[in-house]
Each structure stands twice: as C-alpha cells, then as structure tokens.
Symmetry: C2
Subunit: 250 residues, 2 copies
C-alpha cells in the first residue's frame, strides 16, 4: 500500500508524520519504505541521512536510475529510505518537458513494490509536478492538517486536486484521512480548527489528534523518529495510535 | 524598495512576517504594497481578502494584466494589496514555457513602483519559477527562519540560490537579513537554532527575534495583522521592532 503524505500548506507536519508513521509501522514487523520527495530532504535528515553521496531520488526521477539503487537501510529494523537532495529542486523545471511526466515515480516504484508492505512518500509543500507524481503513484493520501487558521484555507483546493488526479491520472486514489497535528489544548484556535475540519470532512478525519509536543521538535536533531527518541512522550504515543488507525483503515 | 520574503522551508513565518512588516511600515506613514505570490493566498486572507472576484496576481503573471488593475486597498491606511488565488498553482507549469519567464513580476512592477515606498512579496514555500520571479524583481531578501531544527537544513541551499540569482538575473539583489521566528524560550531547540544561525551568518541576522505567541496565530482568523488585533502583545511589539530594523538596514 502506497501512501502520499501531502499538503501544499507548508510546515503542517508532513515530514514528521511520514517519518513517524513509517517508523511505527516498521515496529509492527511490516517491511516499510520511506521515499523523500522533497528537495529540502528533511525526511532524510530526520532519519540521520545528511549529504548522501550515493544515488538519491534525484537520480531516479531525473536520470532513470532504478529505485533499488537508491534504497538505504535505516537504524530502524524493517524501515528503508530513499533519500532526497537539494538537487531535486531542478525537477520542477526539468520534469514538465518530459512525456509521461506524471508517472515517473509510479513506474520507478514497480521494481520495489513487492518487497514492501507499506510505502510512504513525503511530499514537498506544493501542487507541482513532484507532488502530482506522488498522487499518481499512491493508493491512499494522508493529509496532515496543522491546528491553525492558515492551514484550513487550502484544504478544499487540495481536495479538488485529488479529485482531478483521480479523474485523469489515478482512478484508484483513495483518502486514508486527514491527520490533525500540533494541537495545543491551551489555545482556542486549535479547538476551532478541529471542530471545523471534523464538520467539513465528517468521515475522513483520523480519531487520533497529534499534540504539539517539544520532544517531536527535538527528535530530528538526533536523526531519530520521536518513537525512538522518547517512546513514552505524548507525541510518540499519538503517532503509535495514528499508525494503528492507518492499519485499520487499510 | 522591494523586499522578497522567502524561504523554501514551509511554515516558517513568511506570510506572518510579510503581512506584519508591511502593516508596521504603513503605520509609520509610508505607502506600502503587499504582493501575495503564493497560490495558498494566506497573505490575502490574513488581511481579510477571501475568494476575490476581480483581478489577482494570477491575471498579472499569466495574462499580462497591468499590476494596478489588481491592487486593492486594505483596512490599514497606506497599505495596499495585490491578492492571490489558488489558480496561481497553474503558474508553476505554465511559466516555464515563456520567454523572459523569470522577469514577468519585475516588468509588471515597473508600473506601480513610483507609488510605493515599500513593496513586500510573500513567496510560496519553494524555489520554483514563482519564487525566482520574486528574487529577480527584489532589491532585498528577508528570510524568516523558524527556531526549529528542520528550518536550519535548507539555509545554505537558499543562500546558494540567491548567489545564483545575483549572478544571472539580478546583480543588485541584497540580503536585508534573516529574521528568527517562533522562538520559544522554554525549549533548548530554539536557543540552539539562534546560536547556530548567528554563528553561520554573523552580520545578516536581525537583532529582533519574533517569539512564539498565540495572538499571532489568532489574528489571521480576524483578517488583521497582529499589530491591529493585539498591538500590545509580545508578537506585535516584536514585529514593530523588526520593522524599525528594516528601515534602519535600508
Ligand atoms: N506535533 C508537533 N509538535 C511540535 N512540533 C512539531 C510537531 N509536528 C511537527 N513539528 C515541528 O514543526 C515543524 C514543521 O513540521 P514538518 O517539517 O514536519 O512539516 P512539513 O509539512 O513537512 O513542512 P514542509 O512544508 O516544509 O515540508 C518542524 O520543525 C517539526 O519539528
Ligand atoms: N511567532 C509566531 N508565533 C506563533 N505562531 C506563529 C508565529 N508566526 C507564524 N505563526 C503561525 O505558524 C503558522 C505558519 O506561519 P506562516 O503561515 O506565516 O508561515 P509561511 O512560511 O508563510 O508558510 P508557507 O510555507 O505555507 O507559506 C501559521 O499558522 C501562523 O499563524
Ligand atoms: Mg516536510
Ligand atoms: Mg505563507
């Protein structure tokens, strides 16, 4: 099952959710692959991969390298990663010229698909061709929604884009759910956003809400998911529960 | 003076900084224009403009409409806005085919330039052609840097891009400074990031650090800058001080 973790709004917890959900699912014994499709390569550094010298997703997307050539194992048993690099930002300008430009990721994934039960794709904050490649390849979308006002604004546009992708590129694309993140029980804004999102998308919101939690902010500097850095903290427990929901939503 | 407020990292406070700095400078009596160059149109909604029916930046960038046709006055005297709309996300795919594609914004601005002392451009979280248009048009860059680990990662790449733009597109492009945002005195991560950034970029960091402040999160839902919503709060006071630094850095 391939999940695209996406939202064009920036800083809503896409990378944090992709890294931690992938790690949690690997901890259940399933074989998991995390693909970093963002030129900022935050998912890569969040798992301890900085300045990777070998092949990355850039070689796969721009030069046709096989996906397996870019796969690296992580310190988490059962979790592999395909790292990114800043050179990926050339893709937004180079990809538009190519035939079948929306299906490059989907085609590259066919080679490794049988080896993994779950594949997570961490998307950049855009609706550009990199993001469209992830939507065209995915079976399901997971949409992190930060519990703040600006994050509400782009949701209906994102849903429209998904409908467009389903009609033209990927008829099987489903929505695993909207995952509310950085919820701060002390602020009225958080409560308002949760209410709004549950009202607009009644059947599509994960029951689990990820709290704002400083341990989540600290974990990437150690190159670890929060479920390794501080497994008992509220952030880790929330991602463990969310991963269970991902499995249940199937 | 044209300022591009940019950082490809998402959610670091670009829109919040563009809206509040523009409002603070307008409060000093200067004539200010804010251009929303993000398809999410957060700067527009942050000033109360939702679902705009007339011309937007999309008409200017994609159809050659004059910039003045898209200018609207805001509730803040001296502050005008050119709003955005989700249709701008078509630009990332349409712009690459055009001649002079990097200078479309710069050319469109010549018409309104004499009317404003300050122009702020709120950039999307990317280094795509929309962002490059802003860099090619700007006199100065303002780079918001969230006081969190992931936000540190992309800075050197951003500086490389600015050098590239200066060499090929806009020799006069300067750096007004790095503006540290969402600083939380209770967390070690924040202090570490401030130290790192001041060490890597000794002369380029604003003295003012914007604190994490819940009033800043609330203000957009009222369509107001925090300097109107709650002028005495720590967030508003910090942006007022940062605006003074923008004036002083000239
Ligand atoms: N639940 C949380 N509590 C506290 N901080 C969080 C939480 N989730 C994410 N963060 C922090 O918020 C910032 C933004 O999160 P993240 O980078 O995962 O978002 P993103 O959507 O991937 O951003 P981008 O749009 O740049 O890809 C990061 O510094 C991250 O550590
Ligand atoms: N100093 C602050 N304190 C608390 N919240 C803040 C602060 N600055 C910004 N925010 C909130 O953090 C979120 C991200 O800020 P903002 O949208 O301005 O970032 P951005 O860089 O423009 O995001 P994008 O990459 O999507 O364009 C918003 O919900 C905003 O209200
Ligand atoms: Mg990310
Ligand atoms: Mg913004």
């Amino acid at each position: 099952m391939i999940y695209a973790v996406a939202n064009q709004k920036g800083g809503v917890g896409k990378t944090t959710s992709a890294v931690n959900l992938a790690a949690c699912l690997a901890d259940t014994g399933a074989k998991v692959l995390l693909i970093d499709l963002d030129p900022q390569a935050n998912a890569s550094s969040g798992l301890g991969f900085r300045d990777v010298t070998g092949p990355t997703i850039v070689d796969v997307m721009l030069d046709g390298a096989p996906m397996s050539s870019a796969v690296l194992s992580t310190r988490i048993p059962q979790l592999d990663i395909v790292p990114s690099s800043p050179d990926l930002s050339g893709a937004a300008i180079e990809l538009p010229q190519r035939d079948g430009r929306e299906y490059i990721l989907k085609q590259a994934l066919t080679e490794v698909l049988p080896a993994y039960e779950y594949i997570f794709v961490d998307c950049p904050p855009s609706l550009d061709l990199l993001a469209i490649n992830a939507f065209a390849a995915a079976d399901r979308m997971i949409i992190p929604v930060q519990c703040e006002y600006y994050a509400l604004e782009g949701l209906s546009r994102l849903m429209e884009t998904i409908r467009g992708v389903r009609n033209h590129l990927n008829p099987g694309l489903g929505l695993a759910g909207l995952l509310l993140t950085m919820h701060d029980i002390r602020t009225r804004v958080s409560t308002d956003v949760v209410t709004e999102v549950r009202r607009h998308f009644p059947d599509s919101v994960f029951a689990t809400v990820i709290p704002r939690n400083v341990r989540i902010t600290e974990a990437p500097s150690y190159g670890e998911p929060v479920t390794r850095y501080d497994p008992q903290c509220a952030g880790a427990q929330a991602y463990i529960a969310a991963a269970q929901e991902v499995i249940a939503r199937g």
